[in-house]
């Protein structure tokens, strides 16, 4: 489902943020992507949904070489990828419901369908009573859950989550991770970036370790 061949990413003349990374994630896999802060986790994820281009190497997502994707093809790739951003990327002047519905809106779904599915997802992340709230009036953990609901709302084939539990307490962390496992059980390929070692111990899955932009272990 996801393949990287000798991918290098560098900004200007700094040492590369990703250094000759080659890896492969099968369809339906659940993978932890871990490593210290600055290791290149976010950078790697951004390459997968075409937010950045690799300096060299090939990135293949869902069987398509994303470097060769035309500008018009990018939106359609992204509709198959749900992303939970490390900084949430919620629209401050839209309610939680509108933020979640946004992902369906751009695909041209009907208003009724948007409403129903967004409601359902918000209820799943425990925010049924916050659908009308604006992000700025919500706690960090609540905003994070809105971001997760948005990533899940159109049942994407690929789910990329960047520190999805960074702002959550232990019990919420478990319930949110359960949502990601559920999506995985329904067939989604899931990659979760985290530097929370406790999580990796608690939920033993394939773990790709990055360090200074290199894959140091993959098991």
């Amino acid at each position: 489902m996801i393949q990287l061949f000798h991918v290098t990413k560098r900004w200007s003349d700094d040492p590369p943020v990703l250094d000759d990374v080659t890896l492969r994630v099968e369809k339906g896999e659940f993978v932890w992507l871990t490593g210290p802060s600055g290791a290149g986790k976010t950078t790697l994820l951004r390459l997968l949904f075409c937010a950045d281009e690799p300096t060299s190497g090939q990135v293949i997502v869902g069987g398509r070489n994303v470097n060769r994707l035309s500008a018009g093809g990018v939106p359609f790739l992204r509709r198959n990828i749900g992303v939970v951003f490390q900084d949430f990327k919620l629209l401050p002047n839209r309610t939680a419901l509108e933020n979640v519905g946004f992902a369906l809106e751009v695909m041209g779904a009907s208003d009724a369908k948007i409403r129903e599915r967004a409601h359902k997802r918000l209820a799943q992340v425990g925010l049924a009573d916050k659908v009308g709230s604006l992000p700025l009036r919500m706690s960090g953990g609540e905003q994070q859950r809105v971001a997760i609901a948005r990533a899940l709302v159109n049942e994407p084939a690929i789910l990329l989550a960047d520190e999805p539990t960074g702002n959550l307490d232990a019990s919420l962390t478990d319930s949110i991770l359960q949502l990601l496992f559920d999506a995985n059980a329904r067939g989604a390929t899931v990659v979760v970036a985290t530097h929370d070692r406790a999580l990796l111990g608690r939920y033993q899955r394939r773990t790709i370790q990055l360090h200074h932009g290199k894959v140091t272990s993959d098991a």
Binding site: P75, F76, K89, G108
Partner: protein, 293 residues
């Protein structure tokens, strides 16, 4: 697909409603640009209308000796007519000339009633049917007995016409410049509004919106702002016309057949189209920058 169109319209209206200040700024900019452009166009049109009406006057005017009786004067006209078969020759008696002047003066015509004696001479108007050498024609006509003086206005009419053409060139050029400047200013004003919403654009793109989808509400907003600007500019031009036209009319009265330019329905439609176009292009330019990333 109609629900998507309707959603985009709703989104555009909502955006205008939520951030009225930047859109008002854009409307004001468009209004000013269209108003200036319109005023310029009308000035040029008016000036040209005046010049053209002067250009329509007969080519050579022969003023006849005042000592001649009307009978004799008509005889002079006949002699000119037979001497110049290639020209249209019209006899204008002093009474006819006075009537003409009265019409041209319009409201001021009444002042002529105070004259005890008609001061105007009889004239013969000679206009060549094709292109002819006016100077030579005038010279020949002046040799005819009974002709006191000739005036071949075409010489300076030609100069006026050249001036008119220059004026048109100047008008077109400066309109194009004003248009371009307006477009840039409008695009920059709209860019301010778009800048405030760059996060929204980024997020829309990240969740899979096409460029067209992102752009559509902005284009709609731009077109709406343009139409509002056009309406305000038309109102402004109409007001100025109300104020100035009565005064300008006096000047136009001297030019036979010329009409001071009025703001017609077509002009309003043109303004609206120009406004919408400027708004659309401005928005397109403004958004393009933020779509690239």
């Amino acid at each position: 697909m109609t629900h998507v169109a309707w959603r985009l319209v709703r989104r555009a209206l909502l955006n205008l409603w939520r951030a009225p200040v930047p859109s008002l700024l854009a409307v004001v900019t468009i209004t000013l640009a269209l108003f200036l452009g319109g005023a310029l166009a009308f000035t040029v049109l008016g000036a040209r209308a005046l010049l053209v009406s002067w250009g329509a006057q007969p080519a050579v005017t022969a003023y006849l000796d005042r000592a001649l009786s009307e009978e004799q004067a008509r005889g002079v006209a006949d002699r000119v007519r037979s001497a110049e078969p290639g020209a249209e020759v019209v006899f204008v008696s002093p009474a006819q000339a006075l009537d003409r002047l009265r019409v041209q003066l319009g409201d001021l015509g009444g002042t002529l009633d105070g004259l005890s004696r008609n001061p105007l001479p009889a004239t013969v108007e000679v206009s060549p049917r094709g292109a002819g050498d006016l100077r030579a024609l005038a010279a020949r006509v002046s040799q005819v007995a009974g002709v006191a003086d000739v005036d071949y206005g075409r010489e300076w009419v030609d100069r006026l016409e050249a001036l008119g053409n220059a004026l048109r060139g100047f008008g077109t050029g400066s309109l194009a410049l004003v248009g371009l400047a307006a477009l840039l200013v409008v695009a920059n004003t709209i860019r301010l509004a778009v800048y405030a919403r760059r996060d929204e654009i980024e997020i829309m793109k990240l969740v899979g919106a096409t460029d067209r989808y992102v752009r559509a509400p902005f284009l709609l907003e731009g077109a709406l702002q343009g139409l509002c600007g056009a309406a305000l500019a038309a109102a402004g031009l109409l007001a100025v016309q109300r104020l100035l036209l009565p005064r300008a009319a006096a000047a136009f009265a001297f030019a036979s057949g010329a009409q001071a330019p009025h703001l017609s329905a077509q002009h309003c439609a043109l303004l609206a189209a120009a406004g919408a176009l400027v708004g659309l292009c401005g928005s397109y330019l403004a958004v393009a920058r933020f779509l690239r990333t």
